[in-house]
């Protein structure tokens, strides 16, 4: 990583907790929630950045994992709240670590078959088949009445984390930010590792990778599953943040937004997802405060990014990536 990129990354990482802290001191709870929203969306985008940024896999279905994580939190909490056992005699829970574990494992388990089928295709077919799988889960959530169907599912009390008062906005922010830091550390190690080298090679030139004796398929499959797991964790936290899950977390619009977060920040860059999420939430908040039609202007901004700033915010701040 170039010194400039390092500086930009550290600055972004310092800015978010600083903003949340300032909001706490000023008593502006709303802005703490906004900072938490940035951190959760950034975490989801860190997940996608593994597949999209490092592996070049344009998954247009990552909302599936975001939503599944959300529903894991919603369903477990609802069953615990109603004291109803789930299937197979398992009980619901309001323990956030347990919920996170379920969300991560569930997303890994679902991503495996999806990846096995989708990664046999490439190009537009891959984009479309990942979209189709996400739609499958979306329509299932809509037409399955047990957990709210189209109306979604409320979580009445924010789930618990040992030693953290999760109901307090700032405590919850700290928890989410810590998980974001952990995910960023994981991404950083992953990129620098043997696996990361193979994954980036599969993006640049899969034919070359195969000629070296490494099967691009298995590398991509592992990346896809890991990517889904991280995004799923973010989904569980997002549900807890809003105390609400609905099929909109699974919608194709959400998949599009996750891609937007990664590109807006700079794909394949460590701090890209954080930069993207911060920009996105800022647009949503600032433009949304000025006009109800803020998405119109978001569209124009995205067009400008595609044509003028392909490296995203990190690309503008720190130039092109360096691969050692």
């Amino acid at each position: 990583m170039s010194p400039r990129e390092k500086a930009a990354t550290l600055a972004l990482l310092a800015l978010l907790p600083a903003a949340a802290l300032a909001a706490l001191l000023l008593g502006e709870t709303f802005y703490i929630t906004l900072a938490t929203r940035i951190a959760v969306l950034a975490l989801a985008a860190v997940g996608l950045n593994i597949a999209l940024g490092l592996g070049g896999l344009v998954s247009f279905g990552h909302a599936a994992f975001f939503g599944l994580g959300g529903y894991a939190a919603g369903v477990l909490a609802t069953n615990a709240f109603n004291a109803e056992p789930l299937a197979f005699g398992l009980a619901g829970t309001t323990s956030m670590p347990a919920i996170s574990l379920v969300a991560v494992l569930l997303c890994g388990l679902v991503a495996l078959p999806i990846g096995l089928v989708s990664l046999r295709t490439s190009g537009v077919y891959f984009i479309m088949i990942t979209l189709a799988f996400a739609q499958m889960i979306y329509y299932f959530a809509i037409s399955w009445p047990a957990y709210g169907g189209e109306d979604g599912l409320s979580i009445y009390v924010r789930n618990a984390f040992p030693g953290v008062e999760t109901a307090k906005p700032f405590s919850f922010f700290v928890l989410v930010f810590a998980l974001l830091l952990a995910a960023l550390a994981l991404f950083h190690r992953l990129q620098a590792s043997r696996f990361g080298a193979a994954l980036e090679a599969s993006r640049q030139n899969p034919v070359r990778l195969a000629a070296l004796g490494i099967s691009p398929f298995s590398i991509r499959l592992v990346a896809f599953v890991l990517s889904a797991m991280v995004t799923g964790l973010a989904g569980a936290l997002f549900a807890d943040l809003n105390r609400f899950v609905s099929p909109s977390m699974l919608s194709w619009h959400m998949s599009g937004e996750l891609i937007v977060l990664v590109i807006l920040g700079g794909k394949g860059r460590l701090a890209g997802p954080l930069a993207g999420a911060a920009l996105y939430v800022a647009f949503e908040h600032v433009l949304g405060g000025l006009t109800e039609r803020w998405q119109f202007f978001l569209g124009l901004v995205l067009l400008a990014v595609v044509f003028l700033a392909r490296g995203g915010l990190i690309g503008l701040l720190a130039g092109r990536p360096r691969h050692g």
């Binding site: 043997r194 080298a197 030139n205 070359r208 990778l209 195969a210 070296l212 004796g213 990536p321 691969h323």
Partner: protein, 249 residues
């Protein structure tokens, strides 16, 4: 006679009505350079792609190190020790020259499913890669992304990557292409020594290089091997002269 390292037996491949590979049999023995020549469109690239595993033949077998590899993927053949270079350089453009070679060393060592240890401080990768860069004379360019190397340097890097795989056989697809006379001469000398490490199946248009290097030459025309033998035999073969040079001999 030593057991061949690579043996291609009655290989067939058709694209529609065109028989690009029409019953080709050839082998590669330890320590030799076996050159495969033929006019444009003779089916050399199609043949190399089948041997490397990028194309599936319609019929016939490919044996490598005594094992039938016809049904194996490109990656599986590479893991057994078959290293190929490409006619048009096929590198990792964003990675530096060093990292291109390190990845080959990594592939040879086996596991790419290691997630935490950084490669750049892994001396089991950097040291052999630096040694190979030195061998092909690219040490000064170690940190330059492959995309920014000159054409000749990319050809060298392509060979270096194959070296790092420590293969049991090389498949070199026109390594001299676009090298210029000076570069070709250097590369010829380099390949001359390389046959001691592993035998080379060499597809090449540069006849000076072929005649200087080859222990055996096979001539491919319209998907068929029309002649196979020593350089001298091939030079005097009337069929070859007719098909290849258009001579009315």
């Amino acid at each position: 006679m030593a057991e061949p390292v690579l043996a291609v037996d009655r290989l067939e491949k058709a694209f529609g009505a065109l028989k690009a590979t029409n019953g080709v049999s050839l082998d590669l023995r330890p320590g030799e350079i076996h050159a495969l020549i033929g006019p444009n469109g003779a089916g050399k690239s199609t043949l190399i792609n089948q041997i490397a595993g990028a194309l599936a033949p319609d019929a016939g077998t490919i044996r490598f190190l005594g094992r039938d590899v016809t049904a194996l993927s490109t990656a599986a053949r590479a893991r057994l020790g078959l290293a190929r270079t490409f006619q048009v350089s096929s590198l990792l453009p964003d990675f530096s020259a060093l990292r291109n070679i390190m990845l080959a060393a990594q592939a040879r060592q086996g596991s790419s499913l290691r997630f935490l240890r950084p490669v750049l401080s892994d001396r089991t990768l950097t040291e052999p890669a630096m040694a190979i860069l030195a061998r092909v004379g690219l040490t000064a360019r170690a940190d330059v992304p492959a995309a920014e190397l000159s054409h000749g340097e990319r050809r060298q890097l392509e060979i270096a990557v194959a070296l790092a795989m420590q293969p049991k056989a090389f498949l070199l697809d026109e390594p001299m292409a676009g090298m210029g006379p000076e570069g070709s001469k250097t590369l010829t000398a380099f390949l001359d020594g390389l046959r001691q490490e592993a035998p080379i199946l060499l597809v090449e248009h540069d006849m000076d290089a072929v005649f200087a290097l080859a222990d055996r030459v096979s001539v491919l025309v319209y998907g068929q091997v029309i002649a196979s033998g020593s350089v001298a035999e091939i030079r005097s073969d009337p069929e070859v002269r007719r098909a290849y040079l258009g001579d009315a001999a």
